[in-house]
Amino acid sequence: MAPSLRRFWRQPTVHFMVLGSLVFAFEEAVSRSADAHPTLEFSAPRVEQLASDFASQMGRPPSDLQLIDLVEQAIREELLEREARRLQLGYGDRGIRHRLLSKMRAVTTDLSLSEEQLLAEARRLGLDDDVIVRRHLRHKMRLLLRRAPPTSWSEAQLAAALERHRQRFEQPATVSFAQVFVSALGAAGERRANELRAQLTGQALTPDAAQFNTIQIISDPFPLGTRFNHRSHAEIVVQLGGEVAEQAMELAPEQWSQPVASRFGWHLLWVHDRRPAGLPGVDEVREPLTRLLAEEQAARQLQQAIDGLRQSYRITVDWPEPRLAQLAAARETLANPEVTS
């Protein structure tokens, strides 16, 4: 086993998560039948609290849809926390234990109590319901739900992911071309460019290797040169302007274009190669692809788990305004058309 993997398996968190998964599965099987639909009630004051928190942070009240999203977010956070409590994730947590002990020691005068007694008392008093404890619980629950076995991705999976994230990895179409440049502007420049084109065509001069120097000598000097290799539309816009870019992407290959105007003068273009837009090989982007797949898998797993939780609860929100209730219902319908009836 690689040292890093060995270290991984030695970590208490890992033991805990494995154990947790088992507990979770067991609980799922047993508890669902007993309490098929636990309830979660989200009160009107809590909705209003969310709205006012938002307003104080962002300097303006939330829109209706924003408020509905805030509530949904808060519900999901609470579901995570509740499940964590149901699975008693807090009992194994050193951080929470310490938190409870220090809170309890601050309020009790009885020095004879053992740690276990203090903890029991703290829980009885509800001291385990504070921001830090809740945050820890949600954190643990998320880690638990996100956890996926280390996967080695097949070539087919990588290729599929590359296709799925086409937009991110796609390389634009490019064109390779040569130009003869005329630095004079306006009608005079166009006239010269046309004369030059007639001569180039008449003498069958092309920018291939044998005649390239001739082409270069005929052209006016241009700091970016006469040869442009594999440029995208966007790159040509930056270097030569929009009109040249449009033409270069459209022109028929292996012939001199009509004069094309730019801010610098006139250009006669000869396209000799094109590469269509497309994806790079898997090998070229293997590392970012692998990272993306792992992240996708974890996020998917977390999302499904939270969705599952949400389905298993009976959730009611006491909306302070009827229109919010209607809007929320409509949104729900949109999101899950199959559960409307």
Partner: protein, 843 residues
């Protein structure tokens, strides 16, 4: 008529080609996949599809700070190197201030990577723990081709310790720690944090940032800087809480360095599209005498520094108070009274360098000013410095006794050579910046040939322009020849983006004159002194053979800016004018944030690390003050007069001459023909295209091209001369009410090209030549700022009163006439040097 000229040209071209093709020239400007590379490939990657033999310009940045820099962290910057590279490639990122939206939603599931926090934040409308209040994205077409993130190597670890976020939950009482070996469980947060996180130092700096009390956190770090003791590093909090007295700061610095490397590796495009190149780098922040009084030293390079008359370092006009090349005093902006007692803040001599590595073979940790100080070092070591007579005794190894002049980076460069060996594939460049704020100490005459050689080897580029001002040259109407020794006619165009300090963090100079701003702080003078040193010294090497780059030195983690963006966001997090009314601080207009910053342009075959690094090594680079004109510059004895009539301009330049950054030397093997050719003088061919701008923001036309020559005359005196070679001295004005550039018919050129021959060439004299390309005026960033706020110079608000979006201070800045409304953006090519034959072999 025209047609016959063209027919003639084609005929001539065909004739010429008959010769060249027969000679088998491979100058087609394109490369087949198996053609030999023009540079050494030191890493595994594909050749770029856009590979071009005659090279192409790549636009980039060589100087940028992110959250990992202490000073950026203390102004609420949350962008990391990963964010910086995303931004460089054209994506949107956030800017401070960041709202703490923890109450709404926690996002504590963002674990730190490798012990370094990622400082996650959201852009509206998303929300997480921190939500950006502003966002920034470059206009289409203005993404960068390459960038180097250069966080300060000082405090790298300290910053991660103090500003750490998002560790995993833990129990500080537990017998067995769940935290990694370099972390401990904080009883205050209940999470794993780096050792030292709960130290009073860190708690205070965190609180200072959380309360947005601008400047306080930075001041704490500055205080730490002052207390640093070269005899006894590190800081107490680095070791006091670790189990074995280990140095937590050093450990964390290594973690951060690994993240800097990883971010650069991720951002680098290794496909054959070659869209983006990242460089691993850091900033070595040498700053002797920071905030310390203030027996400030300044250089006295030569008697010609003393043209202005008697000052503290000039006994009489033309006579230094110390022998040339030795140290003498400068009264720093009234920082010290005559007895050397501190009466004001004299600032620090900015001797900063950006270190850029060729590839991913880099040292295990960057070298910081704390590990290896230059000058008199920092803290106590500098405090008692009492003058040149004490230099040797007081400074020990940092003194002239080591054979290294004060302010020289040689000690650091040699240390870096020790950990970055070319035999192991490690190569680096050191790029000094802001010599204008060095108190004149950036380019002190080397003490020994070794000192000169080490500098010449590694310091091939200088950052000539950035947010904190122009370092090319300086001009003021009151002191027309103060900063230009040897100039026949003062160069008024040197009155450009001048800073009103002589050192970093100094008080503003009320009357910055040559006495308080040493001439030796300017690059043109350094180039001249370099020539003279090469001619006179036994080393025979030019220690200041410097090509040019321009950059930002932005502290937002956003490595590029247009004047428009700069007017909205500034460059310094929460202390930028745009964020919280800091406009009211005069140093924001005329101080720290003087201008929108520059750009580095590199002529390379392809956009890859090796190709760009090789171009930087041969200095085939130019700097701009922020816009993106395309400029080529060649020199050579055999360049034809007709270069500007032909499209093979670059091909001829490379075949018959040298590009910017190169050296012209006459072939010693044929001395007779040399005499004949060289007496006629070399030709210089310069060609430029205007910046086209971007959608909705057309670029500004070119006004003129100048060539600046510097040389050492027959009497050994340095000289300079500015020649107008192309374009017009007429201005095509910008419309200040709209900032629209002048229309094409009102003058200005879309492109310029000229071949120029030096009329006063003397083959026996060392010389350099560089081109300065000037655009017509365009709105300076502050004009966008003023227009955006609708400042009406006919309507003055009372102090504290807001008149529809602007206040009294806005009014003052926009309407006083003190701040220029328009600016002539420009580009500076790296020089081409001429070395007389006697210097052959010593290059």
């Amino acid at each position: 008529m025209k047609s016959s000229i063209f027919q003639g040209r084609i005929a001539a071209a065909l004739l010429l080609v008959a010769g060249t093709v027969a000679a088998g020239t491979a100058s087609a400007g394109t490369a087949s996949a198996d053609e030999e590379l023009a540079f050494e490939r030191t890493e595994e990657r594909s050749r770029c599809a856009h590979y071009t033999v005659t090279r192409q310009p790549f636009f980039g940045q060589t100087h940028l700070h992110t959250q990992y820099s202490a000073d950026a962290a203390t102004i609420s910057t949350r962008n990391t190197p990963r964010d910086a590279y995303r931004f460089a490639r054209g994506e949107k990122v956030g800017l401070a201030p960041f709202y703490d939206t923890r109450l709404i939603r926690t996002s504590d599931d963002e674990p730190p990577v490798g012990g370094v926090s990622a400082h996650p934040y959201c852009l509206p409308p998303d929300r997480c723990q921190y939500t950006a209040s502003r966002s920034i994205q470059m206009p289409e077409g203005r993404a960068l081709d390459f960038a180097a993130v250069t966080d300060h190597s000082e405090f790298l670890g300290e910053t991660n310790i103090c500003y750490f976020e998002g560790g995993k939950p833990c129990d500080s009482q537990a017998a067995e720690s769940v935290c990694s070996v370099d972390q401990t469980c904080s009883p205050n947060t209940g999470t794993c944090v780096p050792y030292g996180y709960d130290s009073p130092f860190c708690v205070t700096t965190r609180q200072a940032v959380n309360r947005l009390t601008n400047g306080l956190a930075a001041a704490i770090f500055v205080g730490a800087w002052q207390q640093w003791n070269p005899q006894n590093p590190p800081y107490g909090f680095c070791t006091s809480s670790t189990p074995n007295g280990e140095d937590s700061c050093a450990r964390q610095a290594e973690n951060v360095w690994q993240q800097i490397i990883a971010a650069a590796e991720e951002a680098y495009d290794r496909t054959d599209r070659c869209e983006f190149t990242s460089f691993i780098g850091y900033e070595y922040t040498s700053m002797p005498q920071l905030l310390q009084c203030s027996k400030s030293f300044g250089p006295c390079l030569a008697d010609d520094d003393c043209k202005g008359g008697p000052t503290d370092r000039c006994l009489a006009p033309g006579q230094c108070s110390a022998p040339a090349g030795k140290l003498c005093f400068v009264d720093q902006a009234g920082a010290c009274d005559t007895g050397g007692e501190c009466i004001a803040n004299g600032g620090g001599n900015n001797l900063h360098r950006n270190i850029i590595f060729r590839n991913a073979n880099v040292p295990a940790a960057p070298i910081s000013y704390f590990n290896v100080p230059t000058g008199c070092g920092a803290g106590e070591a500098c405090r008692d410095y009492a003058g040149p007579e004490n230099a040797v005794e007081d400074r020990g190894k940092y003194s002239t006794a080591s054979g290294v002049s004060l302010g020289s980076p040689t000690v650091m460069l040699e240390a870096l050579e020790g950990v970055c060996n070319p035999d192991d594939g490690c190569e680096f460049l050191s790029i000094p910046h802001n010599s204008n704020l060095s108190g004149g100490a950036m380019f002190l005459t080397p003490e020994t040939p070794r000192d000169a050689r080490v500098r010449a080897e590694h310091e091939r580029l200088v950052e000539i322009f950035q947010i904190k001002g122009d370092s090319e040259c300086r001009y003021s109407a009151q002191h027309p020849d103060a900063w230009q020794p040897g100039a026949n006619v003062p160069d008024e165009l040197c009155d450009f983006e001048d800073m009103r300090f002589a050192t970093l963090a100094a008080g503003i100079l009320v009357d910055p004159d040559a006495r308080s701003v040493p001439a030796s702080g300017y690059v043109r003078n350094a180039l001249k002194h370099g020539l003279r040193y090469q001619k006179d010294s036994e080393a025979g090497v030019n220690p200041f053979k410097l090509g040019f780059v321009g950059s930002l030195d932005n502290h937002n983690g956003t490595p590029t800016a247009t004047e428009v963006d700069y007017s909205k966001h500034g460059a310094h997090g929460t202390v930028s004018f745009g964020a919280d009314g800091q406009m009211q601080n005069p140093s924001n207009f005329l101080g720290l944030e003087t201008n929108g910053g520059g750009v580095s342009v590199v002529w390379a075959e392809e956009n890859s690390r090796d190709s760009i690094f090789a171009a930087m090594q041969r200095r085939e680079t130019y700097a701009t003050s922020g816009t993106r004109p395309v400029v080529r510059f060649f020199g050579g004895f055999d360049l034809p007069e007709t270069m500007c009539q032909r499209g093979d301009f670059a091909q001829q330049g490379y075949d018959l001459g040298v590009p910017m950054g190169g050296t012209l030397a006459v072939d010693a093997r044929s001395s007779q023909s040399r005499r004949r050719t060289s007496a006629a003088g070399p030709r210089f061919a310069v060609s430029a295209l205007m910046d086209l701008g971007w959608v909705g923001h057309p670029g500004t036309t070119l006004q003129r091209i100048q060539i600046i020559k510097g040389w050492v005359d027959a009497d050994g005196e340095v000289r300079e001369q500015v020649y107008d070679v192309a374009g017009s001295s007429e201005i095509a004005p910008v419309d200040l009410a709209t900032c629209a550039p002048a229309p094409p018919e009102s003058g200005g050129a879309a492109s310029l090209c000229e071949v120029w021959q030096d009329p006063d060439f003397d083959p026996d004299l060392h010389a350099f030549y560089y081109a300065r390309v000037l655009e017509n005026p365009s709105c300076r960033w502050n004009q966008y700022y003023c227009l955006d706020r609708g400042v009406d110079c006919g309507k003055r608000p009372e102090l504290g009163e807001d008149v529809v979006g602007y206040n009294a201070y806005d009014y003052e800045q926009c309407c006083s006439g003190e701040v220029p409304k328009a600016v002539q953006q420009r580009a500076w090519t790296s020089p081409i040097w001429y070395e007389p034959a006697s210097d052959e072999g010593s290059r």
